[in-house]
């Protein structure tokens, strides 16, 4: 007999239906008001963030109101790179995956090897469907032997539940019962120390653990969108406001400031990280199969382990590994001293690709773009360029600026 335990579990539809029942608190808003009454909901930190807003500029992230810019984008950027930036990241989707076979299920679900993930560790994961196309990516936390948390940019409950058939696991959407705060920047460890997160300096990169702060449990992970100079705090919604205030109070002497979604996007582009739904389409939302991507096409080959046991999409990915890429996710630097707006990436008269996210990096003094390029333009060192239109009064000036391929994240500021 194989030890492939999932084969021995008949589909227990009742148990499956139970696991499909999300946390009842998740959609509690319905008891208060009908779904159409408010398109964009408030996060548990909304009032705290609003108190910091000098601009009253807001945006919509996954159906929640988040600050676009709180003070001034250049000030916020400076705080991120030279002090520490506080942000509300509660609109991320969070799933609790628990049960006797949680590890076995996730080994089947994710493309990478999760066996190395210890309790209180984190691991970036990508997950695919059977054709080898990426459904989504996220950060996997291991909270206990049989308890994991998956944090993603887009909702994946249906795919998680469908994939969980046959496994003794429970999948719950805990998105709205878990608030999240990001603290990024070189001084973030010192701020946490000052705020009585005792021993936070011993927390290794990508590790996480529980802290008791003012009698409130806070799960802190040394993770950040832009690499290792930051932390993310996962707290109960009712405690979130207090933790936020605590950090602001203790961080003020270090120059801590609350920041908005625009800054998060800039940091993400500088880190070269693709965002689902913006830089790539998940396999279930790509209308044309051509616009879905394999992990290799997204530059996520490091998150795929073809040599371990079976996982969803493995056979297709084996074939895809040696097949030519149809498009490739790349980072471009455009040397122009002020923010430019553009979409197309040109190579001579040809269209080489599309810029999916762009940002102006004040540290580097240049524009950065995350782009989906046709691979033939990577092989041949042809001159890539972008075309931007700039307005001067009633005149429109067209500028053509060379675009250079950048490998890896842009080097940013001092490491902590």
């Amino acid at each position: 007999m194989s030890d492939d335990t999932d084969l021995h579990h008949p589909v227990d539809l009742a148990a499956l239906a139970d696991s499909a029942r999300a946390d009842p608190a998740l959609f509690e808003s319905r008891s208060v008001e009908p779904v159409f009454a408010r398109r964009v909901l408030a996060t548990p930190l909304h009032m705290n963030v609003a108190a910091e807003s000098r601009t009253n500029l807001w945006t919509d992230w996954n159906g929640y109101t988040v600050a676009e810019v709180l003070s001034d984008i250049e000030d916020e950027y400076r705080v991120l790179r030279h002090a520490a930036a506080l942000a509300d990241i509660s609109p991320l989707f969070k799933y609790r995956i628990s049960g006797r076979e949680a590890a076995a299920f996730l080994a089947r679900f994710a493309a990478g090897d999760i066996s190395a993930l210890r309790v209180d560790g984190t691991l970036p994961v990508v997950f695919c469907e059977d054709r080898g196309f990426v459904v989504g990516d996220g950060l996997l936390f291991r909270l206990g032997d049989d308890e994991y948390r998956l944090v993603t940019e887009e909702p994946h409950l249906a795919w998680l539940l469908d994939s969980a058939i046959g496994f003794a696991v429970q999948v719950e959407d805990v998105s709205s019962t878990l608030a999240a705060i990001s603290l990024q920047g070189p001084l973030s460890a010192r701020i946490l120390s000052a705020a009585n997160f005792a021993g936070v300096e011993t927390l290794a990169p990508h590790a996480a653990r529980w802290f008791d702060v003012a009698a409130q449990p806070v799960y802190v992970s040394r993770t950040a969108l832009s690499g290792d100079a930051g932390y993310e705090l996962w707290v109960d919604p009712e405690d979130a406001s207090h933790i936020w205030s605590l950090l602001l109070a203790h961080g003020a002497p270090f120059g801590l400031a609350a920041t908005g979604f625009a800054l998060r996007e800039i940091a993400r582009v500088e880190a070269g990280r693709a965002r689902a739904g913006r830089d790539y389409f998940g396999a279930f939302s790509a209308v044309e199969p051509e616009s879905a991507s394999t992990p290799f096409e997204l530059g996520l080959a490091g998150l795929v382990d073809l040599d371990r046991g079976h996982f969803t999409g493995r056979n297709a990915l084996r074939a895809a590994k040696s097949a030519p890429l149809r498009h490739t996710f790349s980072m471009l630097a455009i040397d122009w001293p002020e923010p430019l707006s553009f979409i197309g990436i040109h190579a001579g008269a040809d269209m080489a690709g599309v810029a999916t996210s762009t940002a102006f990096s004040w540290s580097l003094g240049k524009n950065l773009a995350l782009a989906m390029l046709k691979p033939e333009f990577l092989d041949k060192p042809r001159k890539l360029h972008i075309e931007a239109e700039m307005r001067h009064g009633f005149e429109v000036r067209r500028v053509i600026v060379p675009a250079r391929l950048v490998s890896g994240p842009a080097p940013m500021g001092p490491k902590p």
Binding site: A17, A20, R21, A22, L26, F27, S29, R30, P34, V35, F36, A37, R39, V40, D60, N62, G63, R131, P155, H156, L157, A158, W159, L161, D173, G277, F281, F284, S285, A286, V287, E288, P289
Partner: protein, 536 residues
């Protein structure tokens, strides 16, 4: 002697489209409509001051492409987009359709968080399938057994369109065209409410229920005109300001602006034939009008069986036409209301109530309703659609009062035990009112006037054989190159200069106005070849 380049018989959507396209191309067009209003778009006063569409529900399915090409907004058309509608389900439950992706997902999550997530995949697959179907709808069909070079090229083109589809996708497409709606929806959704809601939204006018193999393709209809990403919500309902009659008026304005002529209350009784060639038409008043090309927007049966002496038609045609299935399924009930109807099951202020409100029942009930219809039973628990256009268009009713346009589906043309009588009509109206009143307290007391039209009434007044709005049942054997049947599928007929431009031809109701636009192109080419004018 009156002479025109083109005569279009019948002012339905396809007739108006054909006339407008040809007028725009420079032809001298005359459109002849038997009634004072235009086809099912005709409006009337159900009570003084209560204006509403007499036959159609009142939502618009006009393709955006047609509106733009014919510049209908310049000719007065104003379209309003509202949320897609509400289904009132068993046990006081409801499901609404919202255009906004996030709100729509939350609406689905009310009954099943998993289904909320599945919506994106469902919408993705519908958008992909619609994108595949669209080119087939704008392609002129032709008899596959006819071997002209142009014909073979067309067939190869169609084959090529399919060959370029990947194997997985082809598999998906096949599922959509063979599975039942219920099975197809179960691939995505677990909640009965969600499945019933999505099925009810597409089953209006269908002659088969959600469990009938092939009914899955109906689910595509709302997505045919849909743009936007998979993350968006449900397709919108579109209403024209002033109702469907305003749509017809915009077409007429476009035809006239391009030098065409539109005559109402001008009934064509015969086609004037000379040596198997159509030369003109004679009207009920004895008038004779001549033209180089004649297009008929009447359904297939009415076209061939009433406009021609049967002995002049090619042998076999009369019989073949007689076998074409036209089936009425829909009764129309027009109601003037003293006040807006209330639906307490739905939270107050729900914007989806501006779209169509459906009394849907379960998938089983909807399937059984169509079984009843097949048995020619008077409906017991039919799918009922109600639209209150005066909620968004205040000009339709006096201040504070409303008109309600109701379609009852699954209504047979002839009952198993005899024809529709006045008493039978009243029973049907009573059933509809009772069913609506069950969900809308006080509804009965708000009724100021009520009119009931069953399929034979619609046939008698508009001319649609059997009261079939689709001008021919839309099952695969009567679609694409089989519509209306193989030898007649390219709008051309055995009679020279005589063309069929109604929805009895491809693409039928899959693409409203499509048959008219396509027939117009064919006629323009034919006239152009004969040097009459150069098509634009």
């Amino acid at each position: 002697m009156q002479r025109h380049d083109v005569i279009v018989i019948g002012g339905g959507l396809n007739g108006l489209t054909a006339a407008a396209c040809l007028a725009r191309a420079g032809a001298d067009v005359l459109l002849l409509e038997r009634n004072a209003g235009f086809g099912v778009a005709a409006g009337y006063d159900v009570a003084p001051g209560f204006r509403m569409p007499r036959y159609s529900l009142g939502t618009s399915t006009l393709p955006a492409r047609l509106v733009a090409d014919l510049e209908l907004t310049r000719h007065g058309l104003r379209l309003l987009r509202v949320d897609g509608g509400v289904s009132l389900l068993a046990g006081g439950a409801y499901q609404a359709s919202y255009r906004d992706g996030i709100v729509h997902r939350r609406e689905l999550a009310r009954v099943s968080p998993k289904d909320a997530d599945a919506w994106t995949r469902y919408r993705r697959d519908m958008l992909a399938a619609a994108a595949r179907l669209r080119p087939l709808l704008s392609r002129r069909m032709s008899d596959p057994s006819k071997r002209s070079i142009a014909n073979i090229r067309r067939l190869l083109g169609a084959a090529d369109a399919f060959a370029s589809i990947g194997a997985t996708e082809l598999h998906e497409l096949t599922r959509l065209w063979t599975l039942s709606a219920a099975d197809f929806l179960s691939d995505y959704f677990v909640s009965e409410e969600v499945k019933s809601h999505l099925a009810a939204a597409v089953l209006s006018g269908a002659t088969f229920g959600p469990f009938a193999p092939g009914s899955a393709r109906l689910l595509l209809q709302p997505f045919m005109e849909e743009t936007g990403a998979a993350s968006a919500g449900a397709p919108a309902a579109v209403l024209a300001l002033g109702g469907p009659e305003a749509v017809a008026a915009a077409f007429v304005a476009a035809i006239v602006a391009h030098g065409g002529t539109v005559r109402t209350e001008a009934e064509v009784t015969d086609i004037i034939l000379r040596r198997d060639e159509a030369r003109g038409v004679s009207l009920a008043n004895g008038e004779e009008i001549y033209a180089r090309a004649i297009l008929s927007d009447l359904d297939l049966k009415r076209t061939f069986l009433t406009l021609f002496p049967w002995k002049e038609l090619p042998s076999g045609l009369v019989k073949r036409v007689g076998r074409f299935r036209l089936r009425g399924v829909t009764a129309k009930i027009n109601i003037a209301l003293d006040a807006a109807p209330l639906f307490p099951d739905v939270p107050e202020g729900c914007p989806a109530l501006l779209g169509v409100t459906r009394l849907a029942g379960s998938l089983d009930e909807m399937d059984r309703a169509l079984d009843d219809w097949r048995d020619r039973m008077p409906p017991r628990a039919p799918l009922i659609e109600a639209l209150v256009p005066s909620l968004v268009d205040r000009s339709l009713a006096p201040e504070g009062k409303h008109v309600m346009s109701v379609c009852v589906h699954g209504v047979p043309e002839i009952l198993h035990d005899g024809p529709w009588t006045g008493a039978r009509r009243d029973e049907l109206a009573e059933l509809a009112v009772k069913r609506i009143a069950e969900r809308s307290p006080g509804f009965r007391d708000r009724i100021l006037a009520l009119d009931t039209l069953v399929p034979p009434d619609i046939e008698a007044e508009v001319g649609l054989t059997s009261g079939d709005f689709a001008q021919g049942e839309e099952t695969l054997d009567q679609m694409f190159f089989n519509r209306p049947f193989a030898s007649l599928s390219g709008h051309e007929t055995p009679i020279r200069n005589f063309y069929l431009c109604s929805a009895s031809g491809h693409p039928g109701s899959l693409a409203p106005g499509g048959a008219g636009a396509d027939a117009a192109k064919l006629v323009a080419e034919a006239l152009g070849k004969r040097g009459i004018y150069v098509p634009a």
